[in-house]
């Protein structure tokens, strides 16, 4: 049996688990991250929603219900989380802009504006594009992105199509990493004679080095360039995920990817090890402390059956808002859906209440009462609670 003891084992490789493990690995703890698969982050816009969609991200803080996870981390915890996130991202090829004091605007693929808090540098140019001309560039055959949606909604815009020789966002993004392709593309724009203003593209400007590619285009054509997030497969989401994962390995964290935790070993009130459901002999990962960040229903951290909702790793008690008839709505992705409240209830140190496990801390969208869609707090909540769990773990271990 392969037995390796870590200081801390984080289960779930989403925004929350990645933040927690990157923080702890950075502090020199022997950290392992286990994940069954890639997280919801890969489907997201890559922008971090913190809370209210108005001008100030935290203006809705006081209106949050008493059990909301943000109440446990406080305004300062949210601020610290966002700061650490930006610090980590600044060490990667996709730095972020923004603060928790003011929301920013990004342009959506349907020509509307969306407010969000922390934004990758490639999307910041959307701000102020209402004031001048914006030229949208899309690609022949690219599905899921229609520039005419934008030009019909947004005044003072126009568009052109480029033939990239491949029609998927991933394929085009890959080609942008190729010098020859980039040169040909720039030469083509230069020949377009676009009116002065900004140039907007779907988010396909490379996978590894988008900022570099954006700046190169911008420098050569003399206009500000920015990206518009697209439907999944979402390149900015993929970039964010890969950059955070890379930040973790750069800090010495160990990855176990692609297998779910199959079983857990506890002695008394301590978790001692978890076992991965590998095809052969089960792999056992030992730790002194554990962080549970397996996400909500979408990622499989919670699983709804006809009569109950289960937590899939430790079988922790799950808070459910009343009997099934109260929460069984047809459309899962609606803000205010009652099942959004479901999850694990925790105490002030993020230990699950109604469980006597002492070295287990819970963070991210698996927490009860988060109501992520209603409160616009997806990545923000994952980041802030991830950092909080990591800090508590740090204290627990030392």
């Amino acid at each position: 049996m392969s037995a390796v003891t870590h200081d801390v084992v984080v289960i779930g490789g989403g925004m929350s688990g990645l933040m927690a493990s990157a923080y702890l690995a950075g502090k020199g703890f022997k950290t392992a991250l286990i994940s069954q698969g890639d997280p919801v982050c890969c489907l997201s816009t890559g922008c971090v929603d913190v809370l209210s969609p108005g001008t100030h991200p935290l203006e809705g803080f006081d209106g949050l219900p008493p059990g909301h996870p943000y109440r446990l981390v406080g305004r300062k915890g949210i601020e610290d989380g966002c700061r650490l996130f930006k610090e980590i991202m600044a060490t990667t090829t996709i730095p972020y802009a923004g603060t928790v004091r003011k929301n920013r605007e990004i342009l959506t693929p349907i020509g509307t504006f969306k407010t969000t808090c922390l934004v990758p540098l490639t999307m910041t140019g959307a701000e102020g594009c209402r004031d001048g001309y914006t030229h949208v560039i899309s690609f022949n055959g690219l599905r899921d992105f229609y520039p005419s949606y934008i030009t019909s909604r947004l005044k003072n815009t126009g568009f052109s199509l480029y033939d990239a020789g491949i029609t998927s966002t991933l394929g085009i993004a890959t080609r942008f990493e190729d010098k020859a392709f980039l040169e040909a593309f720039i030469a083509w724009i230069e020949g377009l004679e676009i009116p002065p203003g900004k140039v907007a593209l779907p988010a396909v400007l490379g996978i590894q080095s988008p900022v570099q590619i954006m700046e190169e285009i911008s420098r050569r054509i003399g206009s500000e360039v920015f990206e518009i997030p697209t439907l999944p497969p979402s390149i900015p989401g993929l970039r964010l995920f890969r950059a955070l994962k890379g930040a973790l390995t750069a800090r010495g964290g160990d990855l176990y990817w692609g297998k779910a935790v199959g079983s857990v070993e506890c002695r008394g009130s301590m978790v001692e090890a978890v076992t991965l459901a590998t095809q052969g002999r089960p792999s056992r990962v030992q730790g002194r402390a554990f962080i549970l960040a397996t996400g909500s229903f979408v990622s499989g951290g919670l699983f709804a059956r006809i009569d109950t909702v289960n937590e899939t790793v430790f079988d922790l008690p799950v808070y459910v808002p009343g009997p099934r008839k109260d929460w069984f709505w047809n459309d899962f992705f609606t803000a205010g859906h009652p099942i959004e409240k479901a999850g694990i209830e925790v105490d002030g140190s993020l230990r699950p209440t109604r469980s006597d496990l002492k070295n287990l801390f819970v963070c991210g969208s698996i927490l009860a009462h988060g109501e992520i869609m209603k409160n616009h707090c997806g990545h923000g909540l994952a980041i802030a609670t991830g950092l909080k769990a990591a800090r508590i773990c740090e204290g627990f271990l030392s």
Binding site: S2, C42, L43, T167, D254, G258, S283
Partner: protein
Amino acid sequence: MTFEHCVRCTICVENCPVYKVEPLFPGPKQSGPDAQRFRLDGEKSVDQWVKYCCQCRRCEVACPYGVQVAEIILKAQLKYGEEHLSPFSSHLFANAYHLEAIGSTLAPLFNRVAALSLTKKAMSLFGISGELDLPAFRFLNLERGRRRKGRGRKVVFFYGCHLNFNRPDIGTGIRDLLVSMGCRVVMPPQTCCGLPALGNGDLDMARKYANKNASVLTSYIDRGFDVVYACTSCGLSLVQDYPGILDVEGGRKIAENTYNVHEYILSLIQQGSVKIPLGILERKIAYHIPCHLRALGIGYPATKLFKLIDGLQVSVLEDHCCGMAGTYGFKKRNQNTAARLGEIASGAIRGLGVDAVVADCGACRMQLEHFTGLPALDPSEIIREALQNSPEHRGKTEKGIVRWWRGIKDARHAARTLPAWPRR
């Protein structure tokens, strides 16, 4: 999980290396679960694009719902292969073991002939890419080499075709490493794991190979041996395909008793008295994680050994498929895809300022050496180098055969100085 569990989230698509560069391949979601809804047993396949999938299994590792995307596609590939005449190159590569055995027997001649431009043109007629050099063969392969027996834990070393025919030096190195840790290492007759045959659409051939190996391996397992592999594709085949799609007798037993070599060494260190005297090694390396090591889901055990070596700086790269995928990249049909992916994987390495690329898979090493121009090493070579730098061995810089002999002598010495592993 079957195709019915797919929620069409597209996460697998984001991870497919072939989809990134090959416009003719619709990606894992469409060729896997989506198309599976329309595939009927009695009907002939119409989805010729499934052959573009290189079976890296990245889609499967990424899927948050555990859908066996790559296996769905593999089955479609096998079905397609059965119904259609496959190109000559597929038959050749399905039989890679015998091809390599000939190459090794006639090593000096074969290596020269393979390098001729006329040979490359001829290969091209048979659907083999002339872009890449075929691997050089060694006459003194592991099959012909001597077996080495220590006294402690009993290990069957499944060395695989690449080490056997092309890099027996790495194979003997690993054997000596295990012996130095007190293991009794045997290398019984063995053949190709079967993965190349599977990848070239020949299930029967794959089963034939697998059954041959299975009877040998299970007989050793029954006598208290552990199976240890170094090549991560062989490992994946033993652990995943033997009990899975190949369904060989004893497959489950093999899967349960098979270890990655670094995982094994770690467990020896972890469990008790064995210490390896690793010296300082001032190197900066890029560790390219082979797709099939990812697919094994055992983490990256060699990285944990690297952390025990002072002075060693390691960048772990796990987001790229090198494009070679066993014999995939050698086919003319795939040569552009393989080259583009090789370029991308190498691009990620070049910027790091490393002095070598390290990978557990022979195919990755060939490909990355070709594209980065850096030496490509097996993780065990780094560990052996660190062992040689330990205080007892510092300052010895022999070359060639002297160094090879020295290596063995050192390992013997290390074996003597180590506390013996308790017998089972």
